[in-house]
């Protein structure tokens, strides 16, 4: 009899737990906290991404806090430890490392904290709840076509890569090369990472220009590097001759495109991505469970011809 009672209790508890699940999932959002974990705030583009995610989460009724990983996976890992221990309800996440960050996302998931990636992909399909990502490859196909139009079918160029551990770096590079490599007269004379950083790009290009003084163009994997490259060219007296191409749609570069200093960039839409991630988190916390793992967000080529349509990290 004791055994039967015990088993009834167990089964009853199991059924009660099952019934209780939807009730918990439909709980209101008030008072819950959302963490916005950002790879770096040392780049205005990521500041816009972070602030928009935080502000949208607040609009939706959550307390939201930004954590800056300073491009350091160890700091990012500490942020996850802290936010899991502190009882955050969800994470809006811009990772430092496409593979290295997976463990953080899995740890949060195991603790019942859903993670919503923004802009930067993690290379796992079963860790994050959703990933809202720019279509970098398509953007750089368009940029590559414009590069060939502007530079011509012959010339020498340098490529400044972003962080090598970020898939955006390679999706951009591959999109660009899928076009430019079809023109054998266009010679890549140097390819080096400047880690998406303006100061680093200045330093790297200054060094590369010593060995390659006769280049026609520089393709940069983001706008911060494009600005650094432009500064290096300006200092070397080559800014008028060498064409610089960026990627992001950062405000200073959009202005530089209008002024003819930078030849082109590609507008990503950080506000769209950040808002979508926050809205997905809200839906999740209100009970929705079906999300596409990856959602590509379209990007647009920005040139002197259409630059008036763009500003403030999006279309005007």
């Amino acid at each position: 009899m004791i055994t039967l009672r015990l088993i009834r209790l167990l089964v009853g508890a199991a059924l009660a737990a099952l019934v209780a699940l939807p009730v918990h999932a439909a709980a209101p959002a008030a008072g819950q906290r959302v963490a916005v974990v950002i790879s770096t705030l040392n780049n205005p583009w990521f500041v816009v991404l972070a602030n928009t995610a935080r502000d949208r989460a607040k609009e939706l009724g959550y307390d939201a806090t930004i954590f800056d990983s300073q491009n350091d996976p160890a700091k990012e890992s500490q942020h996850f430890d802290n936010l899991i221990a502190s009882g955050y309800a969800a994470v809006l996440f811009n990772c430092t490392d496409a593979r290295g960050s997976i463990a953080n996302v899995r740890r949060a998931k195991a603790a019942g904290v859903p993670v919503f990636c923004m802009d930067r992909e993690i290379e796992a399909n079963d860790a994050a709840t959703s990933q809202i990502l720019s279509d970098n490859y398509s953007g750089c196909v368009a940029l590559g076509r414009y590069f060939v139009e502007q530079v011509g079918e012959t010339g020498k160029y340098i490529e400044l890569l972003g962080l090598v551990a970020d898939t955006n770096t390679w999706n951009r590079s591959k999109g660009f090369h899928s076009v430019v490599d079809r023109f054998p007269g266009l010679k890549l004379v140097a390819q080096q990472s400047a880690e998406f950083d303006r100061a680093k790009a200045l330093e790297v290009l200054e060094s590369l220009l010593q060995r390659n003084p006769d280049i026609d163009a520089v393709f940069c994997g983001n706008d911060a590097m494009a600005m650094g490259a432009y500064q290096a060219l300006l200092a070397a007296g080559k800014a008028a001759k060498v064409k610089v191409f960026g990627f992001d749609g950062a405000d200073d570069v959009v202005k530089s495109v209008a002024e003819g200093k930078i030849t082109a960039t590609v507008m990503q839409f950080p506000k769209t991505m950040a808002r979508s991630a926050a809205e997905n988190a809200d839906k999740y916390l209100k009970g929705e469970r079906k999300f596409p793992q990856r959602t590509p967000v379209a990007v647009e080529l920005v040139t002197k011809a259409n630059v008036k349509k763009f500003g403030d990290y999006g279309r005007k």
Binding site: A124, N125, N136, Y137, N171, T295, V297
Partner: protein, 223 residues
């Protein structure tokens, strides 16, 4: 004695049944297959239940996709006699009715077939008179995602990641350049009639020049 013989086996039997039900809800352990990410994704995209731990092979996938899915789908693509009048009337409404959109804010694409008369052969394209309008069939070089995204048959979430999905574009473009463009160039003579199936980006408005710029996936003799 008879009473105890009846009672003793009854309780364990009930306990075993109820324990079984309880264990359905709270299993003591789970068997998890040892799979790599790539193997899982490969199984997903091939529709195979056998998740062999093999890396995703975009070239092999694309060859199979072309043969088994793209070619049959091209036969059922939207007919130009439905698409072209709708597009001339209202590009936005036509896009809503016929275009496929990948992701957020991305371009719409048409996957359609038609028959037209060649009016010009240029360096990178062939112009066709199609139901009273001019469309261009590209002859290369081919870049971008028009074929990958235009057919509506491929979804990014069926693949291991964006890098693998992007690799499909390169492979599909390679097949178009190797298999379709040579046939198009050979048959494109001013005045000739060509039947085609292909993908084209949906225009937001009617501009001067060709109504659509088509990446052909199939060229055949006109019926």
């Amino acid at each position: 004695m008879a009473v105890s013989v009846q009672k003793i086996p009854t309780i364990p039997f009930a306990a075993v049944c109820v324990s079984g039900i309880a264990l359905c809800f709270f299993p003591l352990f789970r068997v998890v297959p040892l799979q790599t990410k790539g193997a899982v994704a490969t199984a997903a995209v091939t529709g195979s239940g056998d998740a062999a731990p093999a890396a995703f092979d975009p070239a092999a996938f694309t060859e199979k996709f072309w043969r088994e899915r793209l070619t049959p789908a091209a036969a059922r693509a939207t007919d130009s006699t439905a698409l072209v009048p709708a597009l001339r009337r209202d590009p936005a409404a036509a896009a809503k009715q016929f275009a496929r959109v990948a992701g957020v804010g991305g371009s719409g694409y048409y996957f359609f077939r038609g028959t037209g008369r060649v009016t010009a052969v240029e360096r990178n394209r062939v112009l066709l008179d199609l139901d009273g309008v001019t469309v261009a069939l590209g002859t290369g070089p081919l870049f971008g995602n028009t074929v990958r995204d235009g057919t509506g048959l491929l979804n990014v979430n069926d693949f291991p990641g964006l890098a693998e999905f992007n690799a499909l574009s390169a492979e599909l473009n390679r097949l178009v350049e190797a298999q379709v463009f040579p046939v198009l160039r050979e048959r494109a003579r001013v005045g000739a009639t060509l039947a085609f199936a292909g993908c084209a980006e949906a225009p937001e408005s009617i501009e001067s020049g060709p109504l659509l710029v088509v990446v052909p996936v199939e060229i055949s003799a006109a019926p």
